[in-house]
């Protein structure tokens, strides 16, 4: 029973990270129709930049993370600008374009930080919480808390600000948005930058939980995408449920199946997508032909 809860806790902390990744994917997909295969690489860059600020520059964790988010958001703006001609025109080419961008980012990371990878020590030095024999590391609580704050902030931004409303409007109807005076290109750029910042946050948070390496974005990106699809693209609650779901499934799979966890999570997710391509909150992707 104890180990069940232990696995659950671990699953929830990873789930929070996946939820952030999923939200980044959803935001970009909903506003631009773009599935960003570079998202995982962006996450990885965020993890590296944050850990560099934290370890080498010795900035406090609470400063390193937002700084990394800003840097990564800037990178996101560059990628969006380069791929803009393809927006809403050729989805397959856009997909490949983002794969290319991701490849470039990964290579840049290897060149900047070497392919060896690094460990990041946890910024929370207190002893883990012990509830009924279940050990909850302080850092995991921090991750969940920060994620919750980020989700709340994003929700507030989307629901309460003019720019947030504009971004949602662009996502729903480009032309009507243009007719009321919204600059669609700029709105997309901001969405992309926010998506990148969310990925960076996820990467920065997951650093102390995993090993930071140039390939860390691959499976995290896929898990995040799976979470986004599962929860249905575009809603914050969906991203949370999808993320937590994938996190918990992954955690139990890792415990039961050892090294095959990716495989198991993946099979579960594929079967779910095939049965219910709409996800829990989401949209249809099936065509009749």
């Amino acid at each position: 029973m104890q180990s069940f809860f232990q696995t659950l806790v671990s699953g929830l902390s990873f789930g929070a990270v996946y939820a952030l990744v999923a939200l980044g994917f959803s935001l970009v997909y909903r506003t631009m129709g773009l599935v960003n295969f570079a998202h995982g690489a962006v996450l990885m860059i965020g993890a590296y930049v944050a850990s560099t600020f934290y370890l080498s520059a010795r900035l406090p964790f609470a400063v390193a993370v937002p700084a990394a988010m800003a840097v990564t958001a800037a990178i996101g703006l560059v990628i969006e600008r380069v791929l803009r001609p393809l927006e809403n025109k050729d989805f397959d080419l856009m997909l490949i374009g983002t794969i290319g961008a991701g490849t470039v980012l990964q290579a840049a990371a290897i060149l900047t930080w070497s392919s060896a990878g690094r460990g990041v020590n946890s910024p929370v030095q207190t002893a883990p919480l012990d509830i009924g024999g279940v050990r909850i590391p302080g850092y995991n609580i921090l991750v969940i808390a920060v994620t919750a704050v980020a989700m709340a902030a994003l929700t507030l931004f989307l629901q309460r600000t003019r720019q947030g409303a504009a971004m949602q409007a662009v996502a729903m109807d480009h032309e009507a948005a243009t007719a009321v005076g919204i600059h669609v290109g700029r709105s997309n750029a901001i969405s992309f930058a926010i998506g990148a910042a969310l990925a960076a946050l996820a990467g920065a948070l997951v650093g102390p939980m995993l090993y930071v390496s140039p390939t860390m974005g691959d499976s995290l990106g896929i898990d995040g995408f799976a979470a986004a699809i599962l929860g249905g693209f575009g809603s914050v609650p969906g991203a949370i449920i999808g993320g937590l779901g994938i996190g918990v499934i992954g955690s139990f799979a890792a415990q039961q199946f050892q090294g095959y966890s990716d495989l198991v999570t993946f099979v579960v997710f594929t079967v779910l997508v095939m049965i219910r391509p709409t996800g829990i909150f989401g949209e249809r992707t099936v065509n009749r032909a």
Binding site: V35, L95, G97, T103, G259, L263, F266, T270, A289
Partner: protein
């Protein structure tokens, strides 16, 4: 030695023909490839060996992605299944190499079916993530499963035995690979230029129009994935036999993206492009082996540049330069012209459809269709009689195109039914509806943009089922003969429609009126009994409209029943024998054109109802 003048003058023209030039070029390349090992040292021959394997993988990718339009990020997994099956069967179970290879090919094909299954339901980015995930799952498995020895890999794989030839030599192995690549490339090109490949390309360009022309989309997608897997598996088998040792690091996601880069940079729509990309990038990769990260940075950037600026890849660049040169020189206009339409041979509807003139051919009963709560078709019933030209008219948003879309099978009705000559077709797939003899054109022209006019016709002319394709494996000569028959028929039809001079042109280069005619010709090519025309006169000028009317009458006289949606009332009045008027999803009038146009309900639907005053008596206006 001088040639007789007649021979001399005929030679240059033969050399100028593109077909001869291409065959000549191919011959030169083939000879060069055969002689290559003699020029290379030990290091370069191993590079060549790897390049040929990647070329084989790339051809498989090209077939599924460039030709069939399916996103496939699992190619590396097919490579791995081929290699690992061979390795495990030979080292652990003591199979002979060739036996193991045969089993490996079957295993890979089965994997292809598994990977292709999601493609039946989802496309584009969803398919991308599913296939990528399957690849990751495969890598996960080979890294952890005891049977694959995990990270340590499997060594001691025997070299393929061949009587009298020692394939442990990399030089001789090159020839084995080259023969497999040549065979694979030849088969791939054969598929691309014959009915199966043409259907795949049509599906890639416009799945909706393709299914309305009789293409069975799901079967084709599955075949595409199996083809890709077979090429991947073959490469994997060859790899295992060449190196004698395999490990998970060869089948990484990084290598998957490298393979993708090869196909994109080389040109995914051309198999030659895929091979080119594979060879070029392998050489670059090997040369920069110590600067691997720089190489990755490089090809990542090139992929982004290619995708934004030159989507056709390296292989497409000469074509674009040539087009730009031509434009610069002012050679923009083609001299090709539309010729007069030749009336089709007359026939009765009985011959075409088995139904006597005037008897019901299509019966729509109480059809209901909703979109997000809006009732687009509200209890619509109508009968189409064999041999007539029926007009369907109504204001914007009245449900006319929805009606066609339900008949075609694009949408399932929420109520009611449709029967063609007694057989229920509501709920059937578009390709089934097409096979039963219904053809259509579209309001916003749906020609296959990357297929020539002749190819557009060929897709529609091909009435075989997908499973007819087994002949590709067992009886290619039969495929070839069938294709030639189709091509002759296509040429006849194009000539009949006055489109002979445009046979080799891409639809996008044709004038609008010509494109409309081509779409009509394509619909007729499927020998339908019922032809649905959705606003065929949209955008045509007066003369073109008159030609259209003549064509429609001729089509009817050849035994085909015609239903057309039109807004141009003059055309409807002169062409249609009967008219049905829809408004807000319901039939509000039916009858002869002259009757219907005086019906007050119709006038009101079009012109609107006056709320403030009674309709004035009409006066002759200025």
């Amino acid at each position: 030695m001088s040639l007789p003048s007649s021979l001399a003058s005929s030679l240059p023209s033969a050399a100028r023909s593109p077909r001869a030039a291409r065959l000549g070029g191919l011959a030169v390349l083939a000879v060069a490839a055969w002689l290559l090992p003699y020029q290379l040292n030990v290091y370069w021959i191993s590079v060549a060996d790897i390049a040929v394997l990647f070329a084989l993988l790339a051809v498989g990718m090209g077939l599924v992605m460039g030709i069939a339009g399916q996103v496939n990020l699992a190619q590396i997994a097919f490579y791995g299944v081929g290699a690992y099956t061979t390795a495990i069967l030979t080292t652990r179970d003591g199979f002979g190499f060739w036996t193991a290879a045969a089993v490996a090919m079957i295993a890979t094909a089965l994997t292809g079916i598994v990977v292709g299954t999601p493609a039946l339901r989802v496309q584009s980015h969803y398919l991308g993530i599913v296939t990528l995930g399957l690849a990751v799952a495969f890598i996960d498995w080979i890294t952890n499963a005891p049977v694959t020895n995990g990270d340590s890999g499997i060594s001691g794989i025997p070299t393929p035995p061949l009587p009298g030839i020692d394939l442990s030599s990399q030089y001789l192995y090159y020839y084995l690979e080259l023969i497999v690549l040549a065979g694979g490339l030849a088969f791939g090109l054969f598929v691309v230029h014959t009915p199966l490949g043409r259907r795949m390309r049509a599906m890639r360009d416009d799945p909706l129009a393709a299914s309305a022309a009789g293409t069975e989309i799901r079967q084709l997608r599955m075949i595409a994935f199996v083809l890709a897997s077979v090429y991947g598996g073959a490469a994997g088998v060859l790899y295992a036999g060449m190196i004698g040792y395999i490990a998970p690091e060869t089948f990484s996601i990084a290598d998957m993206f490298l393979l993708l880069a090869m196909v994109i940079i080389g040109g995914r729509r051309s198999l030659a492009g895929c091979v080119t990309g594979a060879v070029v990038l392998t050489i670059v990769q090997q040369e920069l082996i110590n600067l691997a990260a720089y190489a990755q940075l490089g090809y990542g950037l090139v992929v982004v540049l290619v995708v934004v600026f030159a989507p056709a890849g390296l292989v497409g660049i000469p074509g674009r330069l040539a087009a730009r040169y031509r434009r610069w020189r002012g050679h923009t206009a083609t001299s090709a012209a539309l010729e007069p339409f030749q009336p089709l041979p007359a026939a009765t509807p009985v011959a075409a459809s088995g139904v006597a003139p005037g008897e019901p051919l299509l019966e729509v009963s109480h059809l209901v269709r909703r979109f997000r709560g809006v009732l687009a078709l509200d209890d619509v019933s109508l009968t189409v009689r064999a041999g007539e030209i029926l007009g369907v008219v109504g204001p914007n948003g009245s449900g006319k195109t929805t009606l066609f879309n339900v008949i075609s099978g694009f949408y399932r009705p929420h109520g009611g039914s449709i029967a063609l000559n007694g057989q229920v077709i509501s709920g059937a797939r578009p390709s089934q509806v097409s096979r039963l003899g219904v053809a259509r054109t579209f309001q916003h022209l749906r020609l296959f943009g990357n297929l020539t006019a002749a190819d557009n016709m060929l897709v529609s002319l091909d009435r075989t089922r997908t499973w007819w394709s087994w002949r590709y494996l067992c009886h290619p000569a039969g495929v070839w003969r069938y294709d030639r028959r189709l091509k002759r028929r296509a040429a006849e039809l194009l000539a009949g429609f006055g489109l002979a001079q445009f046979a080799g042109a891409l639809p996008g280069t044709l004038p609008y009126g010509t494109q409309r005619r081509l779409e009509m010709a394509r619909a007729i090519a499927s020998s339908p009994r019922l032809l649905l025309l959705d606003e065929p006169a949209a955008g045509l000028n007066g003369e073109e409209r008159a030609q259209l009317a003549a064509i429609v009458r001729s089509v009817r006289d050849s035994g085909v029943t015609v239903v057309l949606i039109e807004h141009n009332m003059g055309l409807v009045m002169s062409l249609c024998e009967r008219v049905i008027v829809l408004d807000s999803g319901s039939v509000i009038a039916e009858g002869l054109p002259a009757q219907v146009s005086r019906d007050p309900a119709v006038l009101e639907a079009y012109l609107g109802k006056s709320a403030l005053r009674a309709p004035q008596a009409t006066e002759a206006g200025p």
